[in-house]
């Protein structure tokens, strides 16, 4: 077992070492720097938890965290619901299925920057949707969430959902296609309405795929930075600030490396605490299934 592919293993070893050093090294460096008072350039003094304390006293950081959770929840839930609905729609063997699939998947091919710019324009009260509907003759129509302090973060979520649903659709469609046609026949004879099948029978079958989606989308939500910059640049005020933007701002504009690395470390901890249980759950399910197969 150990000797198999020995040559390949030897050939890959330097590469593995470099990857490990670079990845783990960077993470360790970030962690170490977060305990220093570094400003423009990194220093190597030790100030304990000072940077973390300052971080959690900062209103902007707290708002950023709140926004990340609101955005993440709306984004993930929205992508799952819209993506599942689109997959179900395509699975009805509609005409022009390939075209539709491409259209649905198209937004995913765009970067978050482009997505943000498109939606920034679409939702701009004087240029986009609102103006368009008013010009159609509905003078009192108003959709100005993007300039509303309480609702602006949801416009970012809408843009994110537009971007991510196609991906969820593609994944779940593959799952739907794998479902035994005879289950559908049985459901017709049992007289079970399609919507109940999709919720009570099909969704549980697709659960592993849904978990994969949740996992990937939540990583995306934590990282989200470009979409906010392109759409609202954190405004109005600090209403749509997010942690990743906080890190970038402190790293470059405010030249406060210590604070930025502390914030980055907190983000890393959050990602791990989301990912670990999900990964654990998945491996646990796999084990149970292969165990039952024996």
């Amino acid at each position: 077992m150990l000797m198999r592919n020995l040559a390949a293993k030897i050939a890959l070893t330097p590469m593995m070492i470099i990857v490990a050093v670079v990845y783990v090294g960077c993470i360790l460096w970030t962690f170490r720097t977060s305990f220093t008072s570094s400003r423009v350039l990194p220093t190597y003094d030790f100030v304990g938890w000072d940077q973390y304390a300052a971080l959690f006293r900062s209103t902007r950081w707290i708002v950023s965290l709140e926004n990340m959770f609101i955005f993440g929840a709306a984004y993930i839930l929205g992508c799952l619901i819209v993506g599942y609905l689109m997959a179900i729609f395509i699975d009805q063997r509609v005409r022009g299925e390939n075209t539709l699939r491409t259209i649905y998947l198209y937004p995913h091919a765009m970067s978050f920057i482009v997505t943000g710019l498109i939606w920034q324009w679409m939702l701009n009260p004087t240029l986009g949707l609102q103006d368009f509907v008013r010009n159609l003759g509905w003078e009192s129509f108003s959709f100005n969430w993007i300039v509303d302090r309480d609702l602006a973060i949801f416009t970012v979520a809408i843009a994110g959902i537009w971007h991510g649903s196609g991906f969820v659709m593609a994944l779940l469609l593959a799952g739907l296609r794998g479902i035994d046609a005879e289950i559908w026949k049985v459901s017709k004879i049992d007289g079970i309405p399609a919507w109940r099948m999709y919720i009570q029978v099909i969704l549980p079958i697709l659960l592993p795929m849904v978990l994969t989606c949740v996992f990937l989308l939540s990583a995306q939500a934590v990282k989200s930075f470009d979409i906010v910059v392109a759409m609202t640049n954190g405004g109005p005020g600090i209403a749509t600030e997010v942690p990743a933007k906080y890190v970038m701002d402190y790293l470059f504009e405010r030249s406060n490396i210590g604070r930025a690395t502390a914030a980055a470390t907190v983000m890393l901890v959050m990602v791990i605490s989301i990912a670990a249980p999900l990964l654990y759950l998945r491996s646990f399910r796999k084990e149970r299934q292969s165990g039952a197969g024996k």
Binding site: K185, D190, G191, Q200, V201, L207, A292
Partner: protein, 362 residues
């Protein structure tokens, strides 16, 4: 009264016409088996009866009602599939009860029906398991249970045992027979396994290319097949076919070829043949006698034993008669050696005679 009547049924998928002008009547309480090779349209016919596919033309009546345009759930049917098609993430109990819950039956009634079905199929101790935790045989029992709780008048089975190994298959076959006896409901059962067909059926419909070739009791199908296809499809090893001609001698028809000259006085011709008509004579391996001294009016042909296959209960002997290879089924007690010479003969009254051209029984 017919429980199920199918009239002038036609089904096609795009340009592919699978069933045309199909007629079928199933009696109340009857066990009808649809038997045929893969792709002959058995499932298509069953699905059309169930309402799972829309027929192009024709009508389906169940219990005297024209249900051609009814939803499957309103046809009073229950169905069992080859792949079991259990709801994978529900427990066995959930699988049995789901349809009843959706139909808003009272809780007590659901509980009673689930309990009864589970009892009947010996799956009571499995009720809280999930399908992944069951063996194939247990899964199919659950699928049958799910059909059972519907209290339907008509049961449709689409190759329910094809995914099981031989032992389980035999076991569940008996179970299904018991089910039919105890419920007395009308059942249509699709299979391509002739043993299942012969053991279960009240009547068998043998299909090929979307057409019912013969509809009759297992005995009729086995003893007097209506054409060459039915004759060769049923029976293992299959019926022996010998080419020859009809010859009229005096007022007695004879079957004649280079080796055999068989007087056909005992053969019940459906329509009288003509002198010189080319025919195929079919005779089942177990209807061939070996070595017995031919009785008066019978005949005997010399055969060289080629191969001997003991199957346990009996032995199949392959022998060469002239240019023909013929299989003979003999009692296991009878000792026959390879390369031995035999004298073989058969009762013409139990043979089948087919027109060579049309393949139809004479």
């Amino acid at each position: 009264m017919s429980a199920i009547t199918v009239k002038d049924l036609a089904v096609s998928f795009g340009h592919l016409s699978v069933l045309r002008d199909l007629q079928l009547g199933v009696n109340q309480g009857e066990f009808l088996v649809l038997l045929g090779p893969s792709g002959c349209g058995k499932s298509t016919l069953l699905n059309a009866i169930a309402g799972l596919i829309e027929p192009e033309a024709g009508t389906v009546e169940i219990g005297g009602r024209d249900v051609t345009h009814f939803e499957p759930k309103d046809r009073g049917i229950a169905m069992v599939f080859q792949s079991y098609a259990l709801y994978p993430k529900m427990t066995v109990r959930g699988n049995l009860a789901f349809g009843l819950k959706v139909a808003r039956l009272p809780r007590g009634e659901i509980k009673r029906r689930v309990h009864e079905a589970a009892e009947f199929l010996h799956i009571t101790e499995l009720l809280d398991r999930r399908p992944v935790q069951l063996s194939g045989g247990q899964r199919q029992r659950v699928a049958i249970g799910r059909a059972l709780v519907r209290n339907a008048d008509v049961f449709l089975f689409d190759e329910p045992l094809s995914n099981l190994d031989a032992k389980l298959r035999a076991e569940l076959r008996v179970e299904i027979k018991r089910l039919h006896r105890d419920l007395g409901s009308t059942m249509i059962y699709v299979t391509h396994d002739q043993i299942e067909a012969l053991t279960l059926a009240d009547r068998i419909a043998v299909m090929k290319g979307g057409i019912i070739q013969q509809l009759g009791t297992p005995r009729e199908i086995y003893d007097t097949p209506a054409n060459l296809f039915v004759a060769s499809f049923i029976g293992s090893p299959s019926m022996n076919f010998l080419e020859g001609r009809i010859a009229l001698e005096g007022d007695v028809f004879h079957y004649r070829n280079a080796i055999f000259d068989v007087p056909l006085t005992a053969y019940p011709f459906a329509r009288p043949p003509s002198h010189g008509q080319p025919v195929l004579l079919g005779v089942r391996p177990e209807n061939i006698a070996v070595d017995g001294a031919p009785k008066p009016g019978e005949f005997c042909a010399e055969a060289n034993v080629d191969l001997v296959e003991p199957t346990g209960a009996d032995t199949v002997v392959w022998c060469q008669v002239g240019t023909h290879s013929i299989s003979v089924r003999v009692d296991a007690a009878q000792i026959i050696n390879e390369r031995q010479k035999l004298c073989i003969g058969f009762d013409p009254g139990r043979a089948s005679m087919f027109d060579l051209e049309s393949g139809n029984r004479l």
